[in-house]
């Protein structure tokens, strides 16, 4: 059986050359970078180099603007809470897009319980933020605007340069979450007009256990993790040296190989979507068509009349690793908030699968996935009462309405008269 990894948005393998540079920092160069002897000083220099490599990836002016955290979630928490607490006296209002990552949304909700207010800016059906609404949401009390570069679910590329101009004109710092874009799209913090940017090397062939937060020197931020004076006093705690060194190496390689990687995955992305849409009826791509407003790695699909977890399990049993934003896959039994924010019909949100390509995927991987996924859909539709009822004209398709029958949602509501709980 072929093994096809199509979940590069959740993590990627560490490159062998990245692993090689990490190894000495586990055993031989084990010193604490805060120590003032040879062991510490050697490691301190290694961190400086990694900082330079991270700065280069996002075109930051200086490595002094780079802070290391434990992961992307911590970076997002530091960006949101750190700026909010530092500017408490200026104002207690935040602006975020409706489709931010949970690490941003949950940080904001935490602050809302403590008296901050937040405006969530809507997105259009392709997931692109409404810039006029974003501009209108900013008040004299606004201390931060958060807008991701690429959406973690549907791959939408946001107009961050335009958002940056709006924020600059109104003198509000902009935080751009680049978790889903770093290593795959060019990032220039100056062009973005970003005061803060976060990303994690494990999304581009680096190790887990390290996150990066870029902070422009003009942006005020306080620590949310207290202890020693590591990371310029902005993030206490001993740095994860091997991961930081490996992450720096991965960043350097990503900067060099980004155009080739994006070209390769972009070609496979189009081949995959073309194959799926011709082989499978009643399938929909969520987010923009492959092209300038979609990251070249991601396909977010809704296959009608079947549910996402069954698709995921059968893909896995056939060697294909994918993700899903359907409610059955989440521990909260809720659909992905991104699918809700783009106004996707609940029936389609239920049949959600996310495939994300990487540099090592091949044409054969794509063709195997198309062929296998088509069989999986046929199998699950054969088990689905909804497919049967669609054939009989009892319910209609959302993707390609025939004009016969009621909506899936109406039908679901009728048979769900008695709640299961």
């Amino acid at each position: 059986m072929r093994n096809v990894y199509l979940d590069h948005q959740s993590s990627t393998p560490v490159l062998p050359e990245v692993f090689d540079v990490m190894k000495p920092y586990f055993t031989e160069a084990f010193g604490n970078p805060s120590s003032l002897h040879q062991y510490g000083l050697r490691v301190r220099d290694a961190l400086k180099k990694a900082r330079q490599q991270m700065a280069a990836l996002i075109h930051a002016e200086s490595e002094e603007e780079i802070f290391f955290t434990s992961d992307g979630t911590e970076s997002a928490n530091l960006a949101i809470k750190g700026v909010a607490y530092a500017n408490e006296r200026k104002g207690k209002h935040l602006v975020v897009s409706a489709t931010e990552h949970p690490s941003v949304i949950q940080s904001v909700e935490f602050l809302e319980k403590q008296g901050w207010t937040c405006t969530r800016v809507p997105v259009n059906p392709e997931g692109i933020v409404d810039l006029e609404a974003l501009r209108a949401a900013i008040t004299p009390q606004t201390v931060l605007v958060a807008l991701h570069h690429v959406n973690h679910d549907i791959g939408t590329i946001q107009p961050v340069v335009e958002a940056g101009k709006i924020c600059a004109a109104l003198a509000v710092p902009l935080y751009v979450d680049c978790e889903a874009s770093a290593g795959w799209l060019p990032i220039d913090v100056k062009e973005f007009g970003a005061a803060l940017v976060s990303f994690s090397p494990h999304r581009f062939y680096g190790p887990k256990g390290v996150g990066v937060l870029y902070r422009n020197r003009k942006a005020r931020i306080v620590s949310i993790l207290h202890g020693g004076v590591q990371e310029g006093g902005r993030r206490a705690g001993t740095e994860n040296v091997p991961a930081i060194v490996g992450g720096g190496e991965a960043a350097e390689i990503a900067l060099r190989e980004q155009p080739a990687r994006a070209e390769h995955t972009g070609r496979l992305q189009r081949r995959l979507w073309e194959g799926l849409r011709t082989q499978i009826p009643y399938i929909k791509l969520n987010g923009p068509e492959p092209g300038p407003t979609r990251v070249p790695t991601n396909l977010n699909l809704s296959t009608e009349f079947i549910e996402g977890e069954g698709q995921l399990l059968l893909c896995d049993l056939n060697g294909i690793a994918v993700a899903s934003g359907s409610s059955c896959v989440s521990k909260s039994l809720k659909i992905s908030h991104v699918l809700g924010a783009i106004g996707l019909d609940h029936a389609l949100a239920q049949g959600n699968i996310i495939m994300t390509l990487g540099k090592d995927n091949t044409d054969e991987d794509v063709d195997y996935t198309v062929e296998t996924f088509a069989k999986i859909v046929t199998k699950l539709r054969g088990m689905s009462p909804m497919w049967d009822e669609f054939q009989k004209g009892v319910i209609d398709s959302v993707i390609a309405p025939t004009g016969r029958g009621k909506s899936f949602s109406q039908h679901a509501a009728e048979v769900s008269g008695k709640a299961a709980h």
Binding site: N3, E307, G310, C328, Q350, M383, P385, D388, S416
Partner: protein, 142 residues
Amino acid sequence: MSDTYTLYNPTVMEHFMNPRNMGDIKDADGVGEVGAAACGDIMKISLRIKDGKIADARFKTFGCGSAIASSSMATELIKGRTIDEAMNFTNQEVVDALGGLPPVKIHCSVLAEEALKAALEDYVKKHPELAGKKPAEQAVAA
């Protein structure tokens, strides 16, 4: 990877991959279709009833792996039972027979119980001679 890891236990995976009694019964004696308001799953069970016993049971499910496995197991368990026995069927039987479900998936087995009871109620409705007693009372009387 040399080892295989699974989301559910081997019994649940087996019933998901090779579901028993999947399909519809033509001109069924009772059909029940229910949905879970919480997660959006939909389950349909149809029954063939002969001499007061469940002679055949089939399912169709729009739902996750554990919902498919729960409906497969529920239809296996109820075949051969009398209507009264089937009215006393509980989701716990499904959970036990499957060797357990993750806590967040217990509601899938509840859906299977509800689909079965909806199919039995449909049968009782079509047979007024049985409707002298409400299904619950029949169960108690039995």
